[in-house]
Amino acid sequence: MSHSHHHHSATPRLDLSGWGFLPSFLMTAGGLLSVLGLLVSWKHGVLFEFGCSWLLAFMFFYSLAIGALFLVMIHHLSGAAWSLGPRRFCEHIASLLGWPLVLMFIPVGLFGHQIYQWMNLDPATNNLVAAKAPVFTIPGFWITSGIFFALLWFLSSRLSSLSIEQDQTGAPSCTRKMNFHSGWGIVALSLLLTFSSVLWMKAVQYQFFSCIYGVYFFSDCAWIALATVYVVSVILYRQGALSRVLHEHCFQNIALLLFGFTLFSAYTEFAQYFVVWNANMPEETFWYLIREHGNWWTLGLVLIFGHFFVPFFVLLPLKIKTNFKVIVPVCILVAFMHALDLAFNIFPAHRSEGYHLRWIWLPVGVFMFMGGFLANVFLMRFHSHAAYPQRDPRLLEAMGMNPNSINDLAPNTLANSQP
């Protein structure tokens, strides 16, 4: 329980109704599978299977945290009240960009030689690697990654700690500081997510060029974050933790944004494809040619329908957006498709003939481990703070009491809302 002493700050502990064991179970079982995967892939001389699986899971949760940080910033910059309810848990997801995701990143760097072909090439004989020096060197990789994490850690922890500080003090200066950090932060974030996606994901095939890659990655970050926000909001709404600050129009807005980013990510992905298709230059087309072979072709079709057409048409009608029974499955589909989309980016570099499905347990195991670990960190943070900002200036509006129309309400309505 929270130890805050002012009126309605105590967060009731989530009633996970028997599911509370799940994160730790996933962590243990997934950890065992990961270790097994490491040994088996080492024994078969295909350590990249382990490295790429780890990179896939890392990029998935990294993109989720980036998307959550983006949502927090956009909330501050737009001055919206409706998004106040989901803001606190978004801050917790975003602040996974601190030590938890740094820990999860270390194996990516350690297995860099298995994941990134460029690490094994001599710049003296390879112009494409030489042109990217000094970033595309081993120290350059670690230093650049360190800078990304340092800035993301600072941004996410500032936005989170100022918000929590305001729970105690109610100081308007906290809101002003959060606005300030969101202002420069959103510019920094756009650059950081672009550079990091290029360095960690696109560089799996260092020969590839694509100017829109960062935008494409960003749209998927927001997409997965919105799907997660919807599901977590539904759970917390049902549990009563956020029922005072979440209303029908909040779910409407989240689903609307999810719909928008479904379209936007299809747009960016198609834009990348179209430019490569149209220019028809071998140094770019090779990236898509690999992905037209083996089961990558099937996966490409799965993505066209599962990543775009299905969510697009399901989310299209107005009234559906507040129907939990429809949208929650769509959100699960979104998470699944996002993972497949990242796999479509990462794996074909090493498996140009198609993915060997007998290895599927390995990425599943790494996902279980990382998801369980990060979920545990998230729950620990969620339980030690109030479920939503307690003294934000927009709280009254978020609770559905427009200060401008309060005089219209019958006096007893107001009296009832006082604790």
Binding site: Y273, F274, W277, N280, P317, L318, K319, S405, D408, L409
Partner: protein, 179 residues
Amino acid sequence: MNDKLYGIMAEFDSPAAVLRAAKAVRDAGYRRWDVFSPFPVHGMDKVMGLGNSLVGWVSLLLGAGAFMSVVGLIWYANAFDYPLIVGGKPMFSEPMTFVPSYIMLIMGGAVGSLVGMLAFNQLPRLNHPLLSKPRFELASRDKFVLVIGVKDDKFCLTKTRQLLEKIGGNAVTVVEDED
């Protein structure tokens, strides 16, 4: 009833008052009535039983039509009527058609929204009976106006007026239909 009438209008001072009045009018069984306010009133759509607008379907129809017709045009021009090799590309390929078709889809959707909105609102029109009442203009300032139409089955000059007065309507006025 009198064919020269449009309906009866009443003014309210606040969103909450007009919301309460709307509930009363609904509960009294009226069906053909409308509310005019300077800004959207939360919950009014539910009280009035307003469903989703049909404009989206017009947008979808025109958008999809425009998309398909441009795909058809490109196929007809490039692959059927006058096959022409450009940049070593196939005569017809989906990526090639997508950009112009997509732009025309947006165009069709936008035109569909505009035309559909105007059609469902019965616009454009030169005049409206309510505009003959100077106080009706207050509905875009600080008053909330509720109008019960003469076409409503339950409309009765005296009883409807009494109802509007009873539920707190000010300046209850009969609106004539000049057409």
